[in-house]
């Protein structure tokens, strides 16, 4: 199935979509990557992070700071974000992975906020709230951005698949299901949780680096925010389906579309967070494993109730 979808997507820009439509597509694909990254750590390995904005922002700033301090193209950020995010993940992992469950979630939330406030305050280094602006955008048309992000997404999808089908994948799930039992079965849980965190961080960071180049402007509130990035990431994967390959993609599609639809309805526009909140609550109560995860529940609604008729 994936190759067909990929082929269709490749030809999409040639159809002649509006700039706005392309923008939406780029956002959907970018959020898919963030979601896939989070899913690896949270959905498959069971370590729920409420601070993924930390990784996104680090990636965005890797790109931005290269441009700002050294004048080189922000695209190098994509490469540089890999070692930067690995180190970031190792540090965050060292602090947080010793914690379990909700405490891990809170610690990641805290670290995300620490990074945000640090970026705001280290004005000489990051320009603080002024942010970083790339004066000359690489391309005017969205088409090439689309192909870049599509490539990144395809790569991420394959990476996740390969990892989950290997020993790593089995170990991640074992850790998620019962960390103590996994330990007793010879699994070095700290090592593998760290690997999951690094992979997750790098993927999300690369999306951040892309974002810097695509939007041309970032500041701490845009790339490190708790609600608009960290919590939305959790929602994307929860709505789409935790621990599934397509969940993050579906989730990204729904969340981005929903955000745009709500934004374009002026009356309800201001209340978009309320609607998101309601959606979140609805999903948690009725579809706790997301659309892909609880797919059978949904199809079950449409089946005829044979015996009763």
């Amino acid at each position: 199935m994936p190759p067909i979808i990929l082929a269709v997507l490749c030809f999409l820009p040639l159809v002649g979509l509006s700039s706005y439509a392309m923008h939406i597509l780029v956002l959907v694909i970018m959020w898919s990557i963030i979601g896939m990254g989070w899913n690896l750590l949270g959905g498959y390995c069971g370590q729920v992070s409420f601070g993924h904005a930390a990784f996104f922002g680090m990636g965005a700033y890797s790109s931005g700071l290269l441009y700002y301090h050294f004048g080189i193209s922000g695209w190098w950020g994509l490469l540089v974000s890999i070692p930067v995010l690995t180190i970031t993940s190792l540090v965050i992992g060292f602090i947080c992975l010793r914690l379990r469950g909700a405490y891990f979630a809170l610690a990641t939330l805290a670290l995300g906020e620490v990074l945000r406030v640090t970026a705001e305050n280290l004005v000489k280094f990051t320009q603080g709230d002024l942010g970083i602006l790339i004066k000359q955008r690489t391309w005017v048309e969205k088409t090439w951005y689309f192909y870049v992000i599509l490539l990144l997404a395809a790569g991420s999808f394959l990476l996740v698949k390969k990892v989950m089908e290997s020993k790593l994948g089995y170990y991640f799930v074992a850790i998620r299901e019962d960390q103590d039992a996994a330990n007793s079965l010879g699994i070095n849980t700290t090592l593998y949780k760290t690997i999951a965190l690094c992979l997750s961080g790098v993927l999300t960071g690369m999306a951040g680096a892309f974002y810097m180049n695509y939007m041309g402007y970032i500041d701490p509130t845009t790339v490190f925010p708790l609600y608009d990035i960290s919590i939305v990431t959790v929602m994307v994967v929860m709505v789409g389906g935790v621990a599934t390959y397509w969940g993050p993609v579906i989730g990204a599609l729904i969340m981005v579309f929903l955000a745009e639809v709500i934004r374009s309805m002026p009356k309800i526009g201001a209340a978009h967070q309320t609607l998101f909140g309601i959606l979140l609550i609805f999903i948690i109560i009725f579809l706790p494993n997301g659309i892909v995860g609880d797919f059978r529940k949904i199809t079950g609604l449409f089946k005829p109730r044979g015996a009763l008729k």
Binding site: L111, N121, H272, G277, I284
Partner: protein
């Protein structure tokens, strides 16, 4: 030299007063965490709701915020009970891959509360300028030849005093009443409590209500000395869980001590490092507590009690 001492002592006093209020916020969250084992990320938003109640009572009916405590607290109690009964409880029973659904649920609730406030009340900053807002007591009023000057702001002191009264009342409730004891029993050991005939379901709802009421009370005490806007909740939720971790998950004594520690720490950070860094200080203390003292202050208290 005198100026240094004066600055330090003034900062200490401010921090202590702030800590008293923070303790109330932390107490509510600690209770909820102790009994229900959930992290209520809507805690600060509940406080925001109470603050708007106090604001409108003041603006429309000229009711002093300190009196609003008597209105907002029961209101928040019922709101809390309702939320627990109709939203949080059903989610506890749902089977899912990740057990964090309750936490995420509170995020959803918080989002809705904050957003509804924005929709209905706009994001303009609000305040309740009470007549005694700038009244203060000065050290030199009592000690004519004092080498340094220290001031004690009236509203801050009143709020602190009210916070202490509420805390003492809570202590009485938890230790002397049957309901209070049932709540503590449920927090310690759910199965044992069930076996003793405690209606755990009711206790959960009541506890959430009390937690909401406490933070609602804190809101009324805060509004004379602070300003109000819809997304205020976030930072107080942060305060709440920093205190809970610092004090020790679910420990009420720990929450009080944790609140005071945090208040002083924040005050110090604001004075000596600058306002901008205060949030970082808060989070660093949070992470440090999680890493170095996972049981919080409560674990130190426990060790002392066991004579180790």
């Amino acid at each position: 030299m005198a100026a240094q001492v004066e600055l330090f002592l003034q900062t200490l006093i401010s921090g202590f007063l702030l800590g008293g209020l923070y303790a109330l916020i932390g107490l509510g969250m600690a209770l909820i965490m102790g009994v229900m084992r959930i992290i209520n990320l809507a805690h600060g938003d509940l406080m925001m709701v109470a603050m708007y109640v106090a604001y409108w009572l003041f603006t429309l009916f000229h009711i002093d915020p300190y009196l609003s405590v008597f209105v907002a607290t029961p209101l928040l109690f019922f709101l809390g009970v309702g939320l627990q009964k109709f939203l949080i409880n059903p989610v506890m029973k749902v089977e899912s891959i990740l057990p964090h659904n309750q936490v995420i649920l509170t995020v959803g609730i918080g989002m809705i509360l904050a957003n509804l406030a924005t929709v209905f009340f706009t994001s303009n900053y609000r305040s309740t300028p009470v007549s005694y807002a700038s009244k203060a007591w000065y050290l030199t009023d009592f000690w004519k030849n004092a080498p340094i000057e220290l001031s004690l702001s009236a509203p801050w002191s009143l709020s602190f005093l009210a916070a202490v009264i509420i805390t003492v009342a809570l202590w009485f409730f938890l230790t002397k009443t049957d309901t209070g004891k049932s709540i503590r029993a449920t927090a310690q050991d759910i199965d044992a409590a069930l076996l003793m005939g405690v209606n755990v379901g009711v206790m959960r709802a009541v506890t959430f209500g009390i937690g909401a009421a406490l933070v609602g009370g804190a809101g009324c005490l805060f509004i004379p000395i602070y300003y109000l806007y819809p997304s205020l909740g976030k930072q107080f939720t942060n305060v709440g869980f920093v205190i809970t971790v610092l004090g020790g998950m679910g420990s009420t004594e720990g929450a009080i001590i944790g609140g005071v520690i945090l208040g002083i720490f924040e005050s110090m950070t604001a004075t000596y490092l600058g306002m901008g860094w205060a949030p970082v200080g808060r989070f660093l203390i949070f992470v440090a507590a999680l890493v170095f003292l996972p049981g919080g202050v409560a674990s130190i208290l426990r060790k002392q009690r066991l004579g180790k």
